[in-house]
Protein backbone atom coordinates (compact mmCIF):
# COMPACT_ATOMS: atom_id res chain seq x y z
CA UNK A 1 0.00 0.00 0.00
CA UNK A 2 2.80 2.34 0.97
CA UNK A 3 4.87 1.46 -2.09
CA UNK A 4 1.79 2.03 -4.23
CA UNK A 5 1.88 5.66 -3.19
CA UNK A 6 5.64 5.85 -3.63
CA UNK A 7 5.26 4.52 -7.16
CA UNK A 8 2.55 7.07 -7.83
CA UNK A 9 4.89 9.81 -6.58
CA UNK A 10 7.71 8.43 -8.72
CA UNK A 11 5.45 8.34 -11.79
CA UNK A 12 4.29 11.93 -11.24
CA UNK A 13 7.89 13.10 -10.98
CA UNK A 14 8.93 11.13 -14.07
CA UNK A 15 5.92 12.31 -16.02
CA UNK A 16 6.87 15.93 -15.34
CA UNK A 17 10.31 15.28 -16.77
CA UNK A 18 8.96 13.23 -19.68
CA UNK A 19 6.40 15.84 -20.71
CA UNK A 20 9.11 18.49 -20.72
CA UNK A 21 10.99 16.50 -23.37
CA UNK A 22 10.20 17.63 -26.90
CA UNK A 23 10.32 14.08 -28.27
CA UNK A 24 8.67 12.28 -25.35
CA UNK A 25 10.99 9.31 -25.78
CA UNK A 26 10.11 5.75 -24.75
CA UNK A 27 11.70 5.20 -21.34
CA UNK A 28 13.66 1.94 -21.13
CA UNK A 29 15.20 1.97 -17.68
CA UNK A 30 14.79 4.05 -14.55
CA UNK A 31 17.61 4.01 -11.99
CA UNK A 32 16.77 4.70 -8.37
CA UNK A 33 18.82 4.98 -5.22
CA UNK A 34 16.87 3.92 -2.16
CA UNK A 35 18.42 4.34 1.26
CA UNK A 36 17.96 1.89 4.11
CA UNK A 37 16.81 4.68 6.41
CA UNK A 38 13.68 5.46 4.41
CA UNK A 39 10.23 3.98 4.43
CA UNK A 40 10.67 2.25 1.11
CA UNK A 41 11.03 -1.50 0.70
CA UNK A 42 12.79 -2.07 -2.65
CA UNK A 43 11.11 -5.41 -3.44
CA UNK A 44 7.64 -3.99 -2.87
CA UNK A 45 8.50 -0.93 -4.91
CA UNK A 46 9.71 -3.13 -7.76
CA UNK A 47 6.42 -5.03 -7.75
CA UNK A 48 4.27 -1.92 -7.45
CA UNK A 49 6.15 -0.28 -10.33
CA UNK A 50 5.58 -3.27 -12.57
CA UNK A 51 1.85 -3.32 -11.90
CA UNK A 52 1.14 0.39 -11.88
CA UNK A 53 3.06 1.35 -15.00
CA UNK A 54 0.99 -0.97 -17.22
CA UNK A 55 -0.60 0.97 -20.08
CA UNK A 56 1.30 4.13 -19.19
CA UNK A 57 4.25 5.92 -20.73
CA UNK A 58 6.44 3.75 -18.49
CA UNK A 59 4.88 0.47 -19.62
CA UNK A 60 8.13 -0.88 -21.06
CA UNK A 61 10.42 0.65 -18.50
CA UNK A 62 12.49 -1.47 -16.16
CA UNK A 63 13.16 -0.25 -12.63
CA UNK A 64 16.72 -0.66 -11.35
CA UNK A 65 17.09 -0.02 -7.63
CA UNK A 66 20.40 0.52 -5.90
CA UNK A 67 20.20 0.30 -2.10
CA UNK A 68 22.43 2.35 0.16
CA UNK A 69 23.17 1.33 3.76
CA UNK A 70 22.53 3.43 6.84
CA UNK A 71 25.83 5.05 7.79
CA UNK A 72 26.07 7.52 10.66
CA UNK A 73 28.93 9.77 11.69
CA UNK A 74 29.97 10.23 15.31
CA UNK A 75 31.43 13.68 15.92
CA UNK A 76 33.00 12.70 19.23
CA UNK A 77 34.90 9.77 17.75
CA UNK A 78 35.27 11.33 14.30
CA UNK A 79 34.25 7.96 12.88
CA UNK A 80 31.59 6.59 10.59
CA UNK A 81 29.65 3.59 11.81
CA UNK A 82 26.78 1.39 10.69
CA UNK A 83 23.84 1.37 13.11
CA UNK A 84 21.96 -1.90 13.53
CA UNK A 85 18.63 -1.07 11.98
CA UNK A 86 15.74 -1.75 14.36
CA UNK A 87 18.03 -2.36 17.32
CA UNK A 88 20.74 0.22 17.98
CA UNK A 89 21.56 3.59 16.49
CA UNK A 90 23.99 5.05 19.02
CA UNK A 91 27.73 5.11 18.36
CA UNK A 92 29.09 1.65 19.29
CA UNK A 93 32.27 3.21 20.71
CA UNK A 94 31.07 6.13 22.84
CA UNK A 95 27.27 5.52 22.91
CA UNK A 96 26.52 9.03 21.63
CA UNK A 97 23.16 9.22 19.88
CA UNK A 98 22.92 9.05 16.11
CA UNK A 99 23.56 12.58 14.95
CA UNK A 100 24.64 12.97 11.33
CA UNK A 101 23.41 10.49 8.78
CA UNK A 102 25.94 10.13 5.99
CA UNK A 103 24.08 7.55 3.94
CA UNK A 104 20.69 5.86 3.97
CA UNK A 105 18.28 8.77 3.49
CA UNK A 106 18.40 8.67 -0.31
CA UNK A 107 15.21 8.40 -2.31
CA UNK A 108 16.50 9.52 -5.64
CA UNK A 109 15.84 9.07 -9.31
CA UNK A 110 19.42 8.95 -10.54
CA UNK A 111 18.98 8.58 -14.25
CA UNK A 112 16.70 7.52 -17.01
CA UNK A 113 17.66 5.57 -20.07
CA UNK A 114 15.62 6.04 -23.18
CA UNK A 115 15.83 5.17 -26.83
CA UNK A 116 15.81 7.68 -29.56
CA UNK A 117 15.35 7.15 -33.25
CA UNK A 118 18.55 7.82 -35.07
CA UNK A 119 19.35 7.97 -38.70
CA UNK A 120 22.11 5.60 -39.74
CA UNK A 121 25.27 7.39 -40.83
Amino acid sequence: MHETDMTKALMITLREWWESQPTRPPVERVFLTVGQFTCVEPASLQFAFEVQTRNTFLANAQLVIQETPLIAFCHGCQLEYRPEFGLRYACPTCQAPMDDIRSGRELKIDRVEYATASTPP
Binding site: H2, I12, W17, F37, G86, A90, I109, E113, A115, T116
Partner: protein, 230 residues
Protein backbone atom coordinates in the same frame (compact mmCIF):
# COMPACT_ATOMS: atom_id res chain seq x y z
CA UNK B 1 17.61 1.60 -35.30
CA UNK B 2 17.76 3.39 -32.07
CA UNK B 3 20.35 4.73 -29.75
CA UNK B 4 20.20 4.66 -25.98
CA UNK B 5 20.42 7.97 -24.25
CA UNK B 6 21.25 8.05 -20.60
CA UNK B 7 20.03 11.17 -18.91
CA UNK B 8 21.13 12.07 -15.41
CA UNK B 9 18.20 13.39 -13.42
CA UNK B 10 19.30 13.34 -9.80
CA UNK B 11 15.88 14.37 -8.56
CA UNK B 12 14.20 13.27 -5.40
CA UNK B 13 11.63 10.55 -5.87
CA UNK B 14 9.20 12.69 -3.92
CA UNK B 15 10.06 15.82 -5.85
CA UNK B 16 6.46 16.46 -6.91
CA UNK B 17 5.17 16.05 -3.35
CA UNK B 18 7.94 18.20 -1.94
CA UNK B 19 7.13 20.98 -4.40
CA UNK B 20 3.49 20.77 -3.32
CA UNK B 21 4.49 20.89 0.34
CA UNK B 22 6.66 23.96 -0.26
CA UNK B 23 3.77 25.58 -2.09
CA UNK B 24 1.41 24.92 0.84
CA UNK B 25 4.00 26.27 3.28
CA UNK B 26 4.36 29.44 1.22
CA UNK B 27 0.60 29.96 1.54
CA UNK B 28 0.72 29.34 5.29
CA UNK B 29 3.54 31.88 5.61
CA UNK B 30 1.73 34.43 3.50
CA UNK B 31 -1.40 34.03 5.66
CA UNK B 32 0.61 34.08 8.89
CA UNK B 33 -0.45 30.56 9.80
CA UNK B 34 1.62 27.97 11.64
CA UNK B 35 0.99 24.42 10.48
CA UNK B 36 1.60 21.32 12.60
CA UNK B 37 1.58 17.80 11.16
CA UNK B 38 0.45 15.36 13.85
CA UNK B 39 1.39 11.73 13.24
CA UNK B 40 1.26 8.43 15.10
CA UNK B 41 0.21 4.82 14.84
CA UNK B 42 -3.55 4.19 15.04
CA UNK B 43 -4.93 4.52 18.55
CA UNK B 44 -2.06 6.51 20.07
CA UNK B 45 -4.47 9.27 21.02
CA UNK B 46 -4.11 11.95 18.34
CA UNK B 47 -7.75 12.91 18.28
CA UNK B 48 -8.17 13.11 22.05
CA UNK B 49 -4.99 15.21 22.29
CA UNK B 50 -6.45 17.55 19.68
CA UNK B 51 -9.74 17.71 21.59
CA UNK B 52 -7.88 18.79 24.73
CA UNK B 53 -5.80 21.24 22.70
CA UNK B 54 -8.84 22.84 21.08
CA UNK B 55 -10.65 23.07 24.41
CA UNK B 56 -7.67 24.83 25.98
CA UNK B 57 -6.39 27.08 23.21
CA UNK B 58 -9.34 28.30 21.15
CA UNK B 59 -9.73 31.26 23.54
CA UNK B 60 -6.40 32.71 22.47
CA UNK B 61 -5.68 31.13 19.08
CA UNK B 62 -7.79 30.73 15.95
CA UNK B 63 -7.34 27.12 15.00
CA UNK B 64 -8.51 24.98 12.11
CA UNK B 65 -8.02 21.24 11.66
CA UNK B 66 -7.40 19.21 8.53
CA UNK B 67 -8.33 15.68 9.42
CA UNK B 68 -7.08 12.69 7.47
CA UNK B 69 -9.03 9.51 7.85
CA UNK B 70 -9.10 6.50 5.59
CA UNK B 71 -12.86 6.04 5.50
CA UNK B 72 -14.99 7.98 7.95
CA UNK B 73 -15.66 11.41 9.36
CA UNK B 74 -15.95 10.14 12.94
CA UNK B 75 -12.82 11.91 14.18
CA UNK B 76 -13.73 15.10 12.33
CA UNK B 77 -17.14 15.11 14.00
CA UNK B 78 -15.52 14.77 17.41
CA UNK B 79 -13.44 17.89 16.73
CA UNK B 80 -16.31 19.93 15.27
CA UNK B 81 -17.85 20.02 18.75
CA UNK B 82 -15.19 22.61 19.63
CA UNK B 83 -16.57 25.07 17.09
CA UNK B 84 -13.48 25.17 14.94
CA UNK B 85 -13.38 24.66 11.18
CA UNK B 86 -12.60 21.00 10.47
CA UNK B 87 -11.97 19.76 6.96
CA UNK B 88 -12.13 15.99 6.67
CA UNK B 89 -10.10 14.36 3.94
CA UNK B 90 -10.97 10.77 3.25
CA UNK B 91 -7.76 9.31 1.95
CA UNK B 92 -9.43 6.14 0.70
CA UNK B 93 -6.80 3.45 0.43
CA UNK B 94 -3.91 5.88 0.73
CA UNK B 95 -2.28 5.46 4.12
CA UNK B 96 -1.10 9.05 4.60
CA UNK B 97 -1.94 12.60 3.65
CA UNK B 98 0.13 14.12 0.89
CA UNK B 99 0.72 17.72 -0.08
CA UNK B 100 -1.92 17.66 -2.80
CA UNK B 101 -4.63 16.39 -0.43
CA UNK B 102 -3.76 19.08 2.11
CA UNK B 103 -3.83 21.71 -0.64
CA UNK B 104 -7.38 20.51 -1.43
CA UNK B 105 -8.22 20.79 2.26
CA UNK B 106 -6.85 24.32 2.38
CA UNK B 107 -8.92 25.23 -0.62
CA UNK B 108 -12.08 23.95 1.08
CA UNK B 109 -11.11 25.77 4.24
CA UNK B 110 -10.53 29.07 2.48
CA UNK B 111 -13.99 28.96 0.90
CA UNK B 112 -15.70 29.25 4.27
CA UNK B 113 -13.07 31.13 6.29
CA UNK B 114 -10.68 33.95 5.64
CA UNK B 115 -7.34 32.18 6.06
CA UNK B 116 -5.57 35.31 7.29
CA UNK B 117 -7.82 35.15 10.37
CA UNK B 118 -6.31 31.82 11.38
CA UNK B 119 -3.25 31.37 13.60
CA UNK B 120 -2.82 27.63 13.52
CA UNK B 121 -3.74 24.77 11.21
CA UNK B 122 -3.34 21.32 12.72
CA UNK B 123 -3.12 18.46 10.25
CA UNK B 124 -4.11 15.17 11.85
CA UNK B 125 -2.48 12.59 9.63
CA UNK B 126 -3.72 9.06 9.02
CA UNK B 127 -2.76 6.68 11.82
CA UNK B 128 0.41 5.09 10.48
CA UNK B 129 4.03 5.21 11.59
CA UNK B 130 5.56 4.43 8.22
CA UNK B 131 4.31 6.44 5.26
CA UNK B 132 3.48 9.87 6.70
CA UNK B 133 7.14 10.22 7.68
CA UNK B 134 8.17 10.61 4.04
CA UNK B 135 5.38 12.85 2.79
CA UNK B 136 5.61 16.45 3.91
CA UNK B 137 2.41 18.42 3.64
CA UNK B 138 3.78 21.94 4.18
CA UNK B 139 4.05 21.82 7.97
CA UNK B 140 6.34 23.99 10.07
CA UNK B 141 6.79 21.25 12.64
CA UNK B 142 6.23 17.52 12.88
CA UNK B 143 4.55 16.18 16.00
CA UNK B 144 4.84 12.44 16.62
CA UNK B 145 2.78 10.68 19.25
CA UNK B 146 3.80 7.47 20.91
CA UNK B 147 1.54 5.71 23.35
CA UNK B 148 3.32 3.93 26.19
CA UNK B 149 1.11 0.92 25.40
CA UNK B 150 3.13 0.58 22.18
CA UNK B 151 6.18 -0.48 24.16
CA UNK B 152 9.73 0.72 24.54
CA UNK B 153 11.07 -0.65 21.26
CA UNK B 154 8.74 1.19 18.93
CA UNK B 155 11.06 4.14 18.24
CA UNK B 156 13.82 1.71 17.26
CA UNK B 157 11.54 -0.15 14.87
CA UNK B 158 10.04 2.94 13.22
CA UNK B 159 13.12 5.18 13.30
CA UNK B 160 12.32 7.32 10.26
CA UNK B 161 9.19 8.74 11.87
CA UNK B 162 10.90 9.45 15.19
CA UNK B 163 14.05 10.84 13.55
CA UNK B 164 11.96 13.41 11.69
CA UNK B 165 9.84 14.57 14.63
CA UNK B 166 10.37 18.02 16.14
CA UNK B 167 8.40 17.05 19.19
CA UNK B 168 7.45 13.68 20.59
CA UNK B 169 4.36 13.46 22.76
CA UNK B 170 4.32 10.29 24.84
CA UNK B 171 0.67 9.56 25.58
CA UNK B 172 -1.36 7.54 28.09
CA UNK B 173 1.32 7.87 30.78
CA UNK B 174 -1.39 7.31 33.42
CA UNK B 175 -1.29 3.63 32.36
CA UNK B 176 2.38 3.25 33.32
CA UNK B 177 1.66 1.53 36.67
CA UNK B 178 -0.25 -1.22 34.85
CA UNK B 179 2.31 -1.90 32.15
CA UNK B 180 5.75 -3.39 32.10
CA UNK B 181 7.18 -0.34 30.41
CA UNK B 182 9.85 2.12 31.44
CA UNK B 183 9.12 5.70 30.37
CA UNK B 184 12.79 6.69 30.62
CA UNK B 185 13.67 3.78 28.33
CA UNK B 186 11.24 5.08 25.67
CA UNK B 187 12.79 8.54 25.97
CA UNK B 188 16.31 7.13 25.71
CA UNK B 189 15.40 5.11 22.61
CA UNK B 190 13.94 8.16 20.89
CA UNK B 191 16.96 10.29 21.78
CA UNK B 192 19.29 7.64 20.39
CA UNK B 193 17.70 8.34 16.99
CA UNK B 194 16.87 12.01 17.40
CA UNK B 195 18.97 13.77 20.05
CA UNK B 196 17.36 17.19 19.42
CA UNK B 197 13.73 16.15 19.85
CA UNK B 198 11.54 17.81 22.48
CA UNK B 199 9.79 15.15 24.55
CA UNK B 200 6.55 15.79 26.41
CA UNK B 201 4.83 13.05 28.42
CA UNK B 202 1.08 13.48 28.79
CA UNK B 203 -2.11 11.82 29.90
CA UNK B 204 -5.29 13.13 28.34
CA UNK B 205 -7.13 11.18 31.03
CA UNK B 206 -5.57 12.84 34.07
CA UNK B 207 -4.38 16.03 32.37
CA UNK B 208 -0.77 15.37 33.38
CA UNK B 209 1.70 17.13 31.10
CA UNK B 210 -0.96 18.82 28.99
CA UNK B 211 0.06 22.32 30.10
CA UNK B 212 3.60 21.63 28.85
CA UNK B 213 2.16 20.54 25.51
CA UNK B 214 -0.04 23.64 25.29
CA UNK B 215 2.99 25.82 26.04
CA UNK B 216 4.87 24.09 23.24
CA UNK B 217 2.01 24.77 20.81
CA UNK B 218 1.81 28.43 21.88
CA UNK B 219 5.55 28.79 21.33
CA UNK B 220 5.32 27.08 17.93
CA UNK B 221 2.79 29.62 16.70
CA UNK B 222 4.70 32.47 15.16
CA UNK B 223 5.47 35.17 17.73
CA UNK B 224 3.98 37.96 15.59
CA UNK B 225 0.65 36.14 15.64
CA UNK B 226 0.67 35.67 19.38
CA UNK B 227 1.44 39.34 19.81
CA UNK B 228 -1.44 40.18 17.49
CA UNK B 229 -3.76 37.85 19.39
CA UNK B 230 -3.19 39.62 22.69
Amino acid sequence: MHQIIDETLGINLLHANQAGADHNRAHFDEWGITCLNVMSSPGAGKTVLLEKTLAALTDTLKIAVIEGDMTTELDADRLRQYNVPVVAINTGRACHLDARMVAGGLHTLSQAHTPTDLDLVIVENVGNLVCPAEFEVGEHAKVALLSITGGEGKPLRYPVMFRGADVLVITKVDLAPYLDVDLSRIEANVREINPQVTIIAVSAQTGAGLETWFDWVRAAVKPSQLAAAH
